[in-house]
């Protein structure tokens, strides 16, 4: 009954939130959301459709899912092609949190609280409305945690295999999940120690469990390395290639880089802004209580494993691999959504904290439990209430997205111009110009078009490239490959004429009658 009710409520919240943020116009605010949609659509629609469009920096699973719907123009332009999967993942996460806490504590109310802490968080509701990959990762993490707990509690092997398969898929969603999978592997080792499964003697059960889990999780990583090897000729293209996070953040002046204190502060502020201090404190209190009461049992370490992604992001801030900016330190907002992942451990530990209130069956005890749970639910939903009251501006991730959306107004205008006033193939570098590419995706020759891209950069009039429109970014100090290769060259001016010039862009169209 609980699951049915929770499912209905989660679906309702998911759809309502999607409609709310769609009306606010922030669903495609994050540029990454746009990139996910673009890549997913390239697999099925475009000048060179196919799975070869996957690979590079982004992990492929979200794009594979998006590609199943992105062939439809309406679903693509509205973002629903990606949001649908995020919404389903949100529902799965809510159910998974309930299940995990219920399995861990055998307390229904605790399960409901954990589900509410995540399910009512406005930033989680915003992310589930977008085509971002975060919500998919949350669902995978929570499912893996639930399976791990079930394996620990029941000893049934199928749960371990399912947890391992979850991790295999998870490592193809986001890189934070690699660290989470590693943490869960440590939990498997922990469980084996606790349950006395030997590793190098007896029935070798401990060894078998560790191998099975590692094998599946590592298989996802291995497949990714092989894929990058096949597509780019370098298995580490995702780490060392162009357009990586490290590559992008190198030129940014980030205060937290190489400063652990500022990195921790930045992430703490991000947690406070996205989750709220009271809930974070409840989660921390639950964690301390659980560590004390459970004597560091596998249930505790399984819960703790969900914090691995947050720890990894914090290290990313310190090492400069991940950019994040908070108003308290940097004066503006950037990538605050990366703190939302901490909702998972906070929800789990808060649920555990609720389960500590004695269940004596007496009226006072029940009232205390329900009151406590209600306070937590109110805390979780407080942001939601204020969000609806202040036109969504207090949903900080949505606010960040709307600011980013506003910043790309010129790109959108150029994109609309190309869509409305030109025909034929468009030569443009996709990186940094996503909003220009977005409405013209099926016509675009870009850096992922392999040979055609190289030919077009040398001579866009070459019949093998057959370029009709050239879009280049002319901002000073930019790295636009089209601009670097073609601007001011005779091959451009001979066959093309400029039809639009803005502060940052030039659009060139092939002259009529040109070969």
């Amino acid at each position: 009954m609980d699951v049915g009710a929770l499912l209905a409520l989660a679906l309702l919240a998911s759809v309502a939130a999607y409609l709310w943020f769609r009306d606010l116009g922030t669903i495609l605010g994050y540029k990454d959301a746009l990139s996910h949609l673009l890549i997913g659509r390239r697999v099925v629609v475009g000048q060179h459709p196919g799975f070869g469009q996957l690979g590079g920096i982004w992990l492929p699973l979200p794009h594979l899912l998006i590609s199943t719907l992105a062939w439809n123009g309406d679903l693509y332009t509205s973002g629903l092609a990606g949001s649908v999967f995020s919404m389903l993942a949100y529902v799965a996460t809510v159910l998974g949190l309930y299940g995990a806490v219920r399995v861990a504590t055998r307390d229904r109310l605790a399960g409901w609280v954990a589900a509410a802490v995540y399910g009512l968080n406005p930033n989680a509701l915003y992310l589930q409305s977008t085509p971002m990959g975060e919500t998919l990762m949350y669902a995978g993490i929570v499912t893996a945690v639930l399976m791990m707990l079930l394996w620990y509690r029941t000893g049934l092997h199928r749960y371990l295999m399912l947890a391992a398969v979850c991790c295999m898929l998870l490592v193809l969603v986001r890189y934070e999940a690699w660290v989470f999978s590693l943490a869960l592997l440590l939990v498997v080792v922990h469980v084996c120690f606790v349950k006395g499964h030997p590793f190098f003697s007896g029935d070798f059960s401990g060894q078998a469990y560790v191998l099975v889990f590692t094998g599946y999780a590592a298989l996802g990583v291995l497949l990714w390395l092989i894929w990058d090897l096949v597509i780019f000729g370098d298995p580490l293209a995702w780490l060392t290639g162009q357009y990586t996070s490290i590559d992008q953040t190198r030129d940014l002046e980030l205060s937290q880089v190489a400063d652990l204190r500022v990195s921790l502060q930045t992430y703490a502020f991000a947690i406070r802004d996205t989750i709220g201090l009271p809930l974070a404190l409840c989660g921390a209190a639950g964690m301390v209580a659980m560590a004390w009461r459970e004597r560091l049992s596998p249930v505790f370490t399984t819960f703790l494993a969900t914090a691995a992604a947050g720890a990894f992001i914090t290290y990313g801030l310190y090492s400069g691999a991940q950019p994040m900016r908070v108003t308290e330190i940097d004066g503006d907002l950037y990538n605050l959504r990366m703190a939302v992942v901490m909702l998972l451990p906070i929800a789990l530990f808060t649920g555990y904290a609720v389960s500590l209130v004695p269940r004596t069956g007496r009226v006072l005890s029940s009232a205390l439990r329900i009151a406590g749970a209600a306070v937590l639910v109110v805390l979780a939903g407080a942001g939601l209430a204020s969000a609806s009251a202040s036109d969504g501006r207090s949903v900080i991730t949505s606010l960040e997205a709307s600011q980013a959306y506003a910043a790309y107004q010129q790109e959108r205008r150029v994109g609309d111009f190309v869509e409305d006033h030109t025909t034929g193939r468009v030569l443009i570098e996709s990186f940094a110009n996503e909003w220009v590419v977005f409405p013209n995706q099926e016509r675009v020759i870009y850096e992922g078009s392999d040979q055609t891209w190289k030919i077009a950069l040398k001579d866009p009039a070459d019949p093998r490239a057959d370029i009709d429109v050239i879009v280049m970014r002319t901002t000073e100090g930019n790295t636009d490959a089209v601009e670097k290769n073609l601007n001011h060259r005779p091959v451009l001016t001979t066959h093309f004429r400029r039809v639009l010039k803005t502060d940052d862009f030039e659009v060139w169209q092939r002259k009529d009658g040109a070969p």
Binding site: H157, R158, L219
Partner: protein
């Protein structure tokens, strides 16, 4: 879950349909018939013409067909594994001791003189009234060593030796057919020499058959689960491998035996359960398949097709003498005749081969037999499909022929993949346009992952944790071994003189690892050297060593470490001999009376089944006592 039930519902619906044709069983005496050769030639000609006209399109078509087959095979196997979880063993009824029928166990052996005591020991543990048990040691006349060993061994009364006259074709099926003529049981089962059936297995089989009779269920065969006990070595409480005094593993195990054991788990616990659940024909395993004698008689070949053995043609030939997986073929024949096969909730311990070469030999024989069975079925595909039912026909063909074909094609996919990675050849790329490439990659990665996952799940289910590291690291060499077996089997069929038809699997092999064997050899050499140095030189005319029997007989003599086994065996044999002598002539008379009653029971069973078939109103709870009375009347009449 409803979706999972759809195949079951569809197949059950099909099972109720009347059969459009009568199944005619044929032997594999001729591997490929004339029309099949013509059909094959036509296909080859079409491919050749296609290659000449448009090589690329032809090759792409072949690739597409191969991928479609691979996908169908994977889907079929996955379906079997998934529905296996829904399989329930058939119900049993209690059968009192006095109503237990006569049971015949066949023990075909060749070149296995050392296994006679093992067979006896295994059957001694079986919980079944000895006066209703007939164990036939089926030996080849030309295998004098085994025959002599059996004759000299103090066999219990219920054992009989059947010497199969020397006649072509050699092999287990013909020997079993010959022995079947001497079987007096109402039920028959086959056990290999190294088999150790669960003690209650025969009782469970009877109880299941009787329950099926009460339900009027046409149960034609029960297949017990086969378990390779040496999938993992025998270990002590601290996990140490237990070895005998010579340093050999008490229960030898290698990576091969681990893979074989795992495959048996997958086959008998998942695949066969899935087949049985769906009502599809079950390709029977080599041993531990229990049949009512009447079913074997029903499914028997036309005697005219059988070879002459000992001056007459085999009259009750249930197994195809020319087919090297005669049991799998019999499974199909049983289904085609309207009988069902179920799994018995019991097991038989077997011994897996230990070396890759032995595994290759065994597998090539099995796959060769699967090919033979498929070719026989495909002689009259339309007629056989009508006789078996299209889904049953397709399912059986996919299970036997599909296994061979998938293993046959696997090296080609591996070779293409490796060649492409190494050369990045445009020619290979051309073979796989977009959708085909994705399908191929999905099949290659997803298919192999799926098969390995099934193996791992099976190992975890059986708690064979020690095998996991082998399954996860050596699945590629094992896959190559299986593919090599498939190619070997094909070559053997194409060039029949290349190898003897029956690659006999050696049983009772002792094993130590290469490193341990080397160490054993060194220590043995050192020990022998020390002993030689200490021994007094024998005087002329005096034997170098006293015989073991003399040592054992000498009062107060303590046998050497290596001789205590011999002494113990001699004592046991003497005890058995004495016990045998104690049995008097009246026990022989009692046996004869029991035999007469068995014949009557068998006849009664036949009469009753015949009556049940022809008169539907007679169907209902079976009165065995009345049946026996009718049988006795018919015998006396």
């Amino acid at each position: 879950m409803t979706l999972l039930r759809l195949p079951t519902i569809a197949l059950r619906h099909v099972r109720r349909q009347p059969r459009a044709a009568v199944y005619v069983r044929e032997t594999a005496h001729t591997t490929v018939t004339g029309p099949q050769k013509v059909a094959g030639a036509v296909v080859l000609l079409a491919i050749t013409i296609g290659l000449l006209v448009d090589a690329l399109v032809t090759l792409r078509t072949l690739v597409a067909l191969g991928l479609a087959f691979g996908a169908a095979y994977l889907a079929f196997r996955t379906l079997l594994v998934v529905v296996a979880g829904r399989y329930r063993f058939p119900a049993r009824v209690t059968v009192p001791d006095e109503e237990l029928p006569r049971y015949t166990t066949l023990h075909p052996m060749y070149g296995e003189a050392n296994m006679i005591p093992v067979v006896v020991e295994a059957m001694e543990r079986v919980d079944y009234p000895r006066d209703r048990l007939q164990c036939l040691l089926v030996l080849e006349e030309r295998d004098r060593a085994t025959v002599e060993a059996a004759r000299s061994y103090p066999l219990p009364d219920y054992f009989e030796i059947v010497e199969v006259p020397t006649a072509l074709p050699y092999g287990k099926p013909k020997a079993c057919d010959y022995a079947l003529e001497r079987a007096t049981g109402e039920f028959v089962v086959i056990y290999d020499a190294e088999d150790h059936p669960e003690p209650k297995q025969l009782r469970k089989a009877v109880e299941t058959f009787r329950a099926a009779e009460l339900r009027d269920d046409p149960l034609g065969c029960l297949q017990a689960r086969l378990v390779f006990v040496n999938q993992s070595p025998l270990t002590g409480p601290l996990g140490e491998v237990i070895r005998d005094s010579d340093g050999y593993d008490v229960r030898p195990s290698t990576w091969c035996s681990r893979f074989l054991g795992n495959e048996y788990t997958v086959h008998f616990e998942l695949v066969l359960a899935g087949l049985s659940h769906l009502g599809l024909p079950v390709p029977l395993g080599g041993t531990s398949n229990h049949f009512p004698m009447s079913v074997l008689e029903d499914a028997a070949f036309d005697p005219e097709l059988m070879p002459e053995v000992g001056g007459h043609r085999l009259t009750t030939a249930a197994w195809d003498p020319w087919n090297v997986t005669e049991d799998a073929e019999l499974g199909g024949a049983i289904a085609a005749n309207g009988w069902t096969t179920a799994l018995l909730d019991s097991w038989t311990d077997e011994e897996a081969v230990l070396t890759p070469r032995a595994a290759l030999n065994q597998r090539s024989r099995w796959l060769k037999g699967f090919t033979q069975s498929s070719l026989v079925l495909l002689r009259h595909p339309w007629h056989n499909a009508q006789a078996m039912g299209p889904l049953r026909f397709g399912g059986f063909l996919m299970q036997v022929g599909g296994t061979v074909a998938s293993l046959f094609l696997a090296p080609l996919t591996w070779a293409l993949t490796i060649a492409y990675v190494l050369t990045r050849s445009q020619h290979i790329r051309d073979l796989f346009p977009g959708p085909l490439l994705y399908a191929a990659v999905l099949m290659f990665v997803g298919g192999n992952l799926l098969l390995v996952s099934i193996s791992i799940a099976a190992a975890l289910r059986r708690r064979e944790f020690g095998s996991i590291r082998y399954l996860m690291t050596l699945f590629i060499p094992w896959g190559f071994l299986l593919s090599a077996a498939s190619w070997t089997a094909t070559l053997e069929l194409v060039f029949p003189d290349w190898r003897p038809m029956w690659n006999k699997t050696a049983h009772g092999v002792r094993y130590a690892s290469r490193r341990r064997r080397w160490w054993l050899a060194v220590t043995r050499w050192l020990r022998d050297r020390d002993e030689r140095a200490q021994e007094p030189r024998p005087q002329p005319g005096q034997p170098a060593l006293a015989p073991v029997s003399a040592l054992a007989a000498a009062p107060g003599a303590v046998p050497a470490e290596d001789d205590w086994r011999v002494a113990a065996r001699e004592r046991a044999e003497a005890a058995r001999r004495a016990a045998r002598e104690r049995r008097t002539a009246d026990s022989r008379q009692r046996n004869q009376a029991v035999a007469l009653r068995r014949v009557a029971a068998r006849e009664a069973y036949r009469v009753r089944r015949e009556a049940a078939r022809t008169t539907p109103s007679l169907r209902g709870p079976t009165d065995f006592g009345a049946g026996v009375e009718r049988g006795l009347a018919s015998v006396s009449g």
